[in-house]
C-alpha cells in the first residue's frame, strides 16, 4: 500500500514538475493593444500572521479590480501565494510566481520572508514593492525593492519626536515583542531617539511572541517605574490584551503605538472604550470621510465583512503605485520582467513620480527604496481617529 501510494505521489510530482515549465510566456499584448501586467503577491495566509496576509491580499485585490474596470490600456493579472510567514516557504512561493511568468512582485507582508525574497528578486531582476515589510534590511543593497510603509527606526524616531514636541511625557515605558523584527526595530529606534531628546526610558519590557497573553508583569514594571507614557510598537492583537489588563490593574498612562496598532478598533467583540486616548502613528484612517477612503472601506466591508486596516490600505496603494508607474513607461508591451524592473526603478526614483493614495498624498520614493510620506499621529476619541 505504501509503495503504491509512493508511486502515485512520485508520478504526480513528476507531472507537476513538467506542468510547471509548460505554458511559455503568452503574448502580453492583446489585439486591442491592452498590455497585461502580472503582479504576484506573497504573504502569510495560514499560521499566526495570516490576518495580515489576508489584509494585504484583499486590499490589493480591490485596487486590481478598480484598475481593470478602467479599461485604460493596462490590465493587471493578480495572484497571491501563501508563505505561512516563513522565509523558506516565501522563496518557494516566489518561485511559484516565477513559473506563472510574473512581471512584478508585490510583497512580502512580513519582514523576515521579505528579506529572503528580496535578495532573490534582486538577483533575478524583478521589481518588488512591499506593503508592510518595514525593516531597512529589506531594501538594503537592493535597488529593485521599494517599501510602501515607513521603516522601523524611522517610525520609532518619529514617535519619540512627537512625544517630545508635544511634551506628552518625560518618563516613558516601552513594551515590545522581542521575537519580532518589526516590533524590536521600532522599539530600538524609539529608545535611541528618546535618549537623544532627553526622554527618560524608565522601563524596557519585552515579550517573546504575539501569542503571549499575560502582560501584568510588564505593565507593573512600567507602573512602578512611574512611566507616564507606554510606547507599544506591537500589533493590535496583543495590544488589545495590554489595554484590557492595564484597565484591570487601574493603570492609566498614555498608550502610544505604531502603525501595527491600526485595526484595534475593528477587533470583533473588543470594548473600544478601553482604547480611548490611545495614540498611534498610522498612515491610514478607516473612519475618514474622504471619498476615496470611504469607497475603499465600503467595498472592503461588503466583500470581506471587515473594516480594512493599514495593511489593506498599503496594499491598495502598492497596486496603484505600480500601475501609475507603468503608465509612465513607454514601450511597456515589449518589455520582459527585467526590462520592466529597470524601467520601474527609473520611474520610482525619478523624483517627480508622486502617488496619491489612501495612506498619503504625494508619496515619493528615495533611491534606497524608502517611501517619503507624511507621518500622522492620531488619538482615539469617542471610537474614531482624531488627527493630532
Amino acid at each position: 500500500m505504501k509503495k503504491l501510494l509512493t508511486i502515485v505521489l512520485v508520478l504526480a510530482l513528476c507531472l507537476a514538475c513538467f506542468a510547471g515549465c509548460g505554458g511559455k510566456k503568452d503574448d502580453a499584448t492583446a489585439d486591442d493593444g491592452t498590455v497585461t501586467i502580472k503582479i504576484g503577491g506573497i504573504g502569510p495566509l495560514t499560521g499566526g500572521a495570516a490576518t495580515y496576509g489576508f489584509a494585504t491580499e484583499y486590499g490589493a485585490q480591490i485596487a486590481v479590480d478598480e484598475i481593470n474596470a478602467l479599461n485604460s490600456g493596462i490590465k493587471i493579472e493578480y495572484d497571491f501565494q501563501d508563505d505561512t510567514g516563513v522565509a523558506e516557504t516565501s522563496v518557494a512561493a516566489y518561485n511559484e510566481l516565477k513559473d506563472w511568468d510574473v512581471d512584478v512582485i508585490y510583497g512580502c507582508t512580513t519582514t523576515a520572508p521579505c528579506v529572503a525574497v528580496a535578495s532573490e528578486t534582486f538577483a533575478d531582476r524583478y521589481f518588488q514593492l512591499t506593503p508592510s515589510a518595514s525593516s531597512p534590511d529589506v531594501t538594503a543593497g537592493k535597488n529593485n525593492v521599494f517599501q510602501m510603509c515607513f521603516t522601523d527606526p524611522n517610525q520609532g524616531a518619529t514617535a519619540a519626536n512627537f512625544v517630545k514636541d508635544n511634551s506628552l511625557a518625560t518618563k516613558v515605558g516601552v513594551i515590545y515583542n522581542n521575537g519580532d523584527a518589526y516590533s524590536t526595530g521600532i522599539a530600538q529606534g524609539f529608545i535611541a531617539k528618546a535618549g537623544e531628546l532627553g526622554i527618560e526610558v524608565v522601563a524596557e519590557q519585552t515579550f517573546p511572541a504575539d501569542t503571549t497573553t499575560d502582560f501584568n508583569v510588564q505593565l507593573t514594571a512600567c507602573k512602578d517605574a512611574g512611566a507616564e507614557l507606554v510606547f507599544m510598537p506591537i500589533y493590535y492583537g496583543p495590544a488589545s490584551l495590554i489595554l484590557q489588563q492595564a484597565d484591570q490593574m487601574g493603570y492609566d498612562p498614555i498608550f502610544f503605538g505604531g502603525d501595527g496598532m491600526d485595526g484595534i478598533l475593528s477587533i470583533e467583540g473588543f470594548d473600544t472604550s478601553l482604547a480611548e486616548g490611545l495614540m498611534l502613528l498610522t498612515p491610514f484612517n478607516a473612519t475618514s470621510t474622504e471619498e476615496r477612503t470611504a469607497n475603499f472601506v465600503n467595498t472592503y466591508k461588503e466583500r470581506y465583512g471587515e473594516v480594512p486596516n493599514q495593511f489593506a490600505a498599503d496594499g491598495y496603494d502598492c497596486i496603484y503605485a505600480i500601475y501609475e508607474a507603468c503608465l509612465k513607461i513607454e514601450g511597456l508591451a515589449d518589455m520582459d520582467h527585467a526590462q520592466l524592473c529597470e524601467a520601474l526603478i527609473a520611474v520610482f526614483t525619478s523624483g517627480d513620480f508622486k502617488v496619491d493614495g489612501l495612506t498619503g498624498t504625494g508619496m515619493t520614493w528615495q533611491v534606497n527604496g524608502e517611501v517619503s510620506k507624511e507621518a500622522m499621529v492620531v488619538e482615539i476619541v469617542d471610537g474614531v481617529y482624531v488627527q493630532k
Binding site: G47, T211, D214, N216, Q218, T220, S240, L241, G250
Partner: protein, 296 residues
C-alpha cells in the same frame, strides 16, 4: 505589594495552565497518548462560546454549555475517526495523527471564523466590576482568576473521586495499568478510552472559555502555545497524575511570572524551560509522578 501582585498574576496564569494540563494528563494517563490536538480543541471551545455569546447574543451560560457539548462531540468524533483505528499501532503513529488533527482544526477554524483576532466577551462581571480590589486598588484580583482557581480545584477533586470511586473510573485505572489484562477482566477497553476522550474534550471546552475570559484574545492559533505550556506543566507535575497537573500548572505560572518580574523578560521562556530541565533531572518522573521500576 508588588510581590503580592506578581503572586496573584502567577497564580491566575498558573491556574489556566493547570486547567489545560488536567485534560492532557487525563488522556495521557489512560490512553497513553500525547494528544497534541488538545490545545486546538480548547480553541474550538472558545470560538463556539464566542459565537454564541458575541455573535448570536445569547446568555453566557448557554455559550459555556454549548461549548462543552460541541467539544465533547468533537472529541468523540476525532477519537472515533482518527485515534481508534490506531489502537494497535505504535504510539508515535498516534502522535503524528494527533498533530494532523491539530493542523486540521487550526486551518478549519480559520476557514470558519477567519484569521483576524477576536476579542472574547467578558462574562464574569458582577455588579459592573470584573474583580476584587484590595489595599485601595493597589492589588486587583479578577473574578476570572478566582473562578479559574476554584474550577481547577473542583475539577481535580471530581476527577480524582471519579477515577477512585466509580466503576468507570476503576475501568480507566485498569486500562492505564494494563490494557490486555483489563480486557481479560471484562473491561471494555475501547469504550473506556472513548469516554476518557469525551471527558478530556469537555474539560478542554471549559479551559478554553476560562482562558479566553482571562486573556480575551482569540484566533485560530490561540490554542497552540498554551497547549505546549500545559503539556510542559503536566510533565512537570508528573504526567498521568491528576494532582500533579494542578501543581505543575500553578508552579509553571509562578515561575514564569517571577522570572519575568525579577530576572528578565528577554529570556523568560529560556529560563522557565531550563528550570523544567533541572527539575526533571532531579526528579525524573516529575514532581508527583509515580516511579515505575523497569522490568526485564
Amino acid at each position: 505589594m508588588t510581590f503580592l501582585g506578581h503572586l496573584v498574576t502567577g497564580l491566575s496564569l498558573g491556574a489556566i495552565y493547570a486547567i489545560i494540563a488536567l485534560g492532557y494528563t487525563m488522556v495521557y494517563g489512560i490512553a497513553k497518548m500525547l494528544n497534541f490536538a488538545h490545545g486546538d480543541v480548547i480553541m474550538v471551545g472558545a470560538f463556539v462560546c464566542f459565537t454564541v455569546v458575541s455573535s448570536l447574543e445569547l446568555p453566557p451560560v448557554l455559550g459555556i454549555i454549548l461549548a462543552v457539548i460541541l467539544c465533547t462531540v468533537l472529541g468523540i468524533i476525532i477519537e472515533r475517526l482518527a485515534y481508534k483505528p490506531l489502537r494497535q499501532a505504535p504510539s508515535l503513529a498516534v502522535l503524528i495523527t494527533a498533530i494532523g488533527v491539530s493542523y486540521l482544526l487550526q486551518n478549519g477554524a480559520q476557514l470558519i471564523w477567519g484569521a483576524s483576532p477576536k476579542s472574547f466577551p467578558s462574562m464574569f462581571n458582577f455588579g459592573g466590576e470584573n474583580g476584587i480590589s484590595l489595599f485601595d486598588g493597589q492589588l486587583n484580583i479578577s473574578y476570572v482568576a478566582i473562578i479559574t482557581v476554584s474550577v481547577c480545584i473542583i475539577i481535580m477533586i471530581a476527577l480524582t473521586l471519579f477515577t477512585e470511586k466509580t466503576r468507570m473510573g476503576k475501568a480507566m485505572r485498569a486500562c492505564s495499568e494494563d490494557k490486555a489484562a483489563a480486557q481479560l477482566m471484562g473491561v471494555n477497553v475501547n469504550q473506556t478510552i472513548s469516554v476518557t476522550f469525551a471527558i478530556g474534550s469537555a474539560l478542554a471546552a471549559v479551559a478554553g472559555v476560562l482562558m479566553c475570559s482571562a486573556y480575551p484574545a482569540l484566533s485560530p492559533t490561540t490554542g497552540s502555545l498554551p497547549g505546549i505550556k500545559a503539556f510542559t506543566a503536566a510533565v512537570f507535575g508528573g504526567i498521568g497524575s491528576i494532582p500533579g497537573a494542578l501543581l505543575g500548572g500553578i508552579l509553571l505560572g509562578l515561575i514564569e511570572t517571577f522570572t519575568k518580574a525579577y530576572i528578565t523578560t528577554d529570556l523568560s521562556d529560556a529560563i522557565v524551560f531550563a528550570v523544567l530541565i533541572v527539575v526533571l533531572l532531579v526528579k525524573p518522573s516529575g514532581l508527583l509522578g509515580k516511579y515505575v521500576p523497569e522490568k526485564v
